[in-house]
Symmetry: C2
Subunit: 226 residues, 2 copies
């Protein structure tokens, strides 16, 4: 089998690619990487897997590629990826691209930062983040989630209209992340909540498997908070 996916289920774009490949029934060699153990930081990973020392990465034969959105586009050209994910129609494709480019410095950056500062920072340093700083991170994340509610989900059932695309899968994997830090992104955002339910339900078992560890930790965090 020539296609390998290196991933970790606690990495949002890793989950997106895993679900994409599984749902599309594209065969690939499963290469989990335990980020929590620094498995991406050793020389073996650097020289044999990826010089960028991040996940996700794919190897397609001897072609190595990082950056999940670049990988999605490569797969849409090279493999038998169902067209609904990344439409061939130029204007529809531009709409998916528009969201995938927007999310980097919005839901991607700020849901991840809130999760890192609220959940990861205390684990690594043994102390809580300063409340005023944390409030700043929370505010920026909430602004992005509000943009999802007001701007991106106002045109139909999904981000790019009435059909599910890769934009929804990438967005959902990001929006799930702050749940690790006991933050429910759907509270006060009914449109986002209904959309997330639709994405979860449409992607079924593969989505559930990729989010299993996240869901376990989220439940534990929620209980600790109560």
């Amino acid at each position: 089998m020539s296609l390998k996916l290196y991933y970790d289920f606690l990495s949002q774009p890793s989950r997106a690619l895993y679900i994409l490949l599984k749902t599309s029934k594209l065969p690939f060699e499963d290469c989990p990487v335990a980020l929590r153990n620094g498995a991406h930081l050793n020389d073996e990973f650097k020289y044999n897997v990826s010089r960028f020392q991040k996940v996700p990465v794919i190897h397609d034969g001897d072609f190595k590629l990082t950056e999940s959105v670049a990988i999605l586009r490569y797969l849409s050209r090279e493999k038998n990826l169902p067209e609904f994910w990344y439409p061939k129609d130029s204007k529809k494709q531009a709409r998916v691209d528009e969201f995938l480019e927007w999310q980097h410095n919005n839901v991607r950056a700020f849901c991840a930062l809130y999760f890192q500062k609220k959940w990861l920072f205390p684990i690594i340093t043994g102390k809580e983040m300063e409340p005023k700083k944390l409030a700043g991170y929370k505010k920026r994340m909430e602004d992005c989630l509000d943009s999802m509610e007001i701007l991106w989900l106002s045109n139909g059932k999904y981000i790019c209209g009435d059909n599910l695309t890769a934009a929804d899968l990438w967005a959902a994997c990001e929006v799930e992340q702050p749940r690790l830090a006991s933050y429910d992104p759907t509270v006060g955002r009914p449109i986002l909540g209904a959309w997330l339910d639709r994405v979860r339900s449409e992607l079924g078992e593969n989505y559930r498997v990729a989010h299993e560890i996240l869901n376990k930790i989220a439940t534990k965090s929620q209980k600790a908070k109560m």
Copy 2:
């Protein structure tokens, strides 16, 4: 003329698109937007130009598109864009995509943040940013610039090998930005410096015009520092 470009020369991706269109000799209607006057924040802009209230934006007939990378890809499909910018060869295209996706949360985010905190923040608030905070922003920007030097520019004359692509143009426009705040990104980075000289020289007059205001302010900032 059906293609309109809304841009401001102090916006990095605006400069990239302007230079791309000019160098490619693609005709477009010039629609400068004075961000400094909040020209993107009024209802006229919101309803007629872009509901996202940012630049750059293109209108191609009645199709409105934001996000410079999405616009680049759209132009590569729809217009007569010279192929070197965004190669049709799948693996070469993937390499350009890989950089364009990486830059969002790296040179894009951190060169812009340093410029905003060092240069814009004092103009808006009338006071300097706290030195410790500013040092944090500087460190993150410098890590990204070091990644350019060590990782991205180690394979040839340009980011994706020996030929100029859109990756170089997008990167150069970001790397120029901290010069507004008296920071020279090429000091101590000879590979980055030689690459930036090549990009500037290859793109000649169009690059110069798009960076004219930036160069004026950078010279003034530099003099004030001395």
